[in-house]
């Protein structure tokens, strides 16, 4: 397994070594920090401040992960990649690991920066922070980042075309909220793309969902299977078999 850290480093490097990738990361970073500043109200509080930075992340992080999963294919760089590493599974493992790391690094950078901004803007309110509550905020950021990375990579692996992968990843949750959950309230919770991350935010041992707030284990697993495991597995097989040219 000595190949794993080496290939992960290379895949991580490939996520940040082009101008367009750096610009995209910078834009996301600035947007998230900007959201925090704009959403800050008269009564400053670290939790809501850092929490506001979260708002744009569900839309921005999948873009990063879908891009990093597809850019090799869209640029025909796969010919070189798979010539040097013909055991394609190794590349797929490394790319998945690198993407999760990248998204975590970005999320951490956003948290640290927004905290720093908060300290500068409201030093007094920083002292009064409820740290137990803050830990919950961090946990939700972590959940969001990891599930965004996984769904983005899964769709990217399956579809292999950046624009397609990004739009599907972004449109599916919206389409779900607008159509499915309203039309089919019974089936809805089981095929929601967000159920898994909602469950992680509020873990509980009930099988079925109760009400709108609490998601049960059943729908959470079904969501994980449907929107992450299945596309990832199908995409994996597709990339192992696909003709590289």
């Amino acid at each position: 397994m000595t190949w794993l850290p080496r290939l992960t480093y290379i895949e991580l490097r490939k996520c940040v070594d082009t101008k367009s990738a750096l610009v995209l990361l910078a834009v996301i970073f600035v947007l998230a920090a900007g959201f925090a500043v704009l959403a800050s109200t008269g009564e400053p509080d670290l939790n809501s401040f850092v929490g506001s930075a979260l708002i744009p992340l569900p839309f921005l992080l999948p873009v990063i992960s879908a891009l990093s999963a597809t850019s090799d294919w869209s640029q025909r760089a796969t010919v070189t990649t798979f010539s040097l590493v013909p055991r394609r599974s190794r590349i797929l493992v490394a790319r998945l690991t690198a993407t999760v790391l990248l998204v975590l690094l970005l999320a951490s950078a956003i948290v640290v920066t927004t905290m720093a901004i908060f300290v500068v803007m409201h030093p007094a309110a920083f002292q009064a922070t409820d740290w137990a509550e803050f830990a919950k905020t961090l946990w939700s950021i972590l959940v969001l980042a990891i599930t965004a990375a996984l769904t983005g990579v899964a769709m990217g692996y399956l579809l292999l075309i950046p624009a397609l992968a990004i739009s599907v990843t972004l449109l599916v949750p919206v389409a779900y909220e607008v159509f499915i959950s309203l039309r089919f309230p019974d089936v809805g919770p089981w095929i929601s793309s967000l159920a898994f991350s909602q469950w992680l935010l509020k873990p509980n041992l009930d099988w079925e969902s109760s009400g709108l707030e609490t998601v049960g284990i059943g729908p959470a697993l079904s969501s994980l299977l449907l929107w992450t495991v299945l596309p990832l597995a199908a995409g994996w097989v597709r990339q192992l078999r696909k003709e590289v040219k």
């Binding site: 490939k14 070594d17 082009t18 101008k19 990738a21 090799d72 010919v79 040097l84 590493v85 055991r87």
Partner: protein
């Protein structure tokens, strides 16, 4: 297995019965050939003949329906660190346009474990030292080929698999590539090089694999002797042809009936003309066939263009 590999005296590529069918249409039919160590093998065939498909099957980029290729007895996908054994250039555009030349080389070097010094040496050797900070997308085709050759040679491989490496190269680059291949073979390396630049290939190849409509066959390089040895025109070609035939010498008229192509040397043809009292108007020895003549005679490209008049219809007839 490892020991058996190490005991091989020289690098040998063995292609055994590679076959690929796309939706019922056979692209490559049981391609089999060997490339010995210390030789350059030219790989030629018309567009759509199955050349690139064969190369992709050799490298595992395309799954063969049947057959396998072995590098010193090991299939490509089972090589421990393939970049150290086989240098590959399949597509000059196989790099991310947004990356710089230096970063592209660095990524390949990290993958195969080539040193920074080796990477710099390869970048300089292909003449890209001054464009290290340029993006790949801004390079010309020739420059991309040079980058591809640099990536292929990073791991100091014993095999080279190059698909159309001379495409887009300037004359200086083509000469450089030729020297690279020759010195590579001289040190025991094995090269398989496809090209449409037949005159160029003729200069370096020890052996040719000609692939036509998915069928590959071997051909010794530089033995393209035409059947006829002389080209002669006389005051009466029909009569002279009879005289030649009666002496057991084959002769037939050329395509526009202006001369006879004779399977005998010019001095013999001259003597027969004197003995037959037929005056010769011109007599030359037949030019040796080039690889291009040979190629055009022996292959039938799937995508062959129509005759000249079809071309003229496209672009307008040339003015007389």
């Amino acid at each position: 297995m490892q020991n058996a590999v190490l005991q091989q005296p020289s690098a040998k590529l063995s292609v055994q019965g590679l076959t690929k069918t796309y939706r019922g249409k056979t692209a490559v039919r049981a391609a089999s050939f060997d490339c010995a160590g210390g030789t350059i093998t030219g790989f030629v065939g018309p567009n759509g003949s199955g050349k690139s498909t064969t190369l992709r099957m050799i490298l595992g980029h395309t799954r063969a329906d049947s057959g396998q290729a072995y590098f010193d007895g090991v299939p490509y996908v089972d090589l421990h660190n393939p970049g150290r054994t086989v240098g590959v250039l399949l597509d000059a555009s196989a790099h991310h346009d947004g990356r710089t030349v230096r970063e592209t080389l660095r990524l390949a070097a990290l993958t195969i474990g080539a040193s920074k010094a080796r990477t710099r040496a390869c970048q300089t050797a292909v003449g890209l030292e001054s464009v290290g900070n340029k993006r790949v997308g801004s390079l010309s085709l020739g420059m991309r080929q040079r980058l591809g050759i640099a990536v292929a040679t990073l791991g100091a491989p014993r095999f080279l698999i190059l698909d159309e490496p001379a495409n887009g190269l300037d004359p200086e680059g083509i000469r450089w590539l030729r020297q690279l291949l020759k010195s590579f073979a001289a040190t025991g390396g094995t090269a398989l090089v496809s090209s449409h630049q037949l005159a160029e290939l003729e200069m370096v190849a020890d052996k040719l694999i000609v692939i036509d409509r998915g069928r590959a066959r071997e051909q010794e390089a530089r033995t393209f002797h035409p059947a006829h040895e002389s080209v002669v025109s006389t005051e009466n070609d029909v009569l002279f042809r009879e005289r030649l035939t009666s002496r057991g010498i084959n002769a037939h008229a050329n395509s526009d009936h202006t001369a006879l192509l004779v399977e005998a040397a010019p001095d013999i043809v001259g003597r027969i003309a004197r003995d037959s009292t037929i005056a010769i108007e011109s007599l030359t020895s037949a030019p040796l066939q080039t690889l291009e003549d040979f190629f055009l005679e022996t292959t039938s490209g799937e995508h062959a263009a129509g005759d000249d008049s079809a071309l003229f219809d496209l672009l307008g007839r040339p003015k007389q």
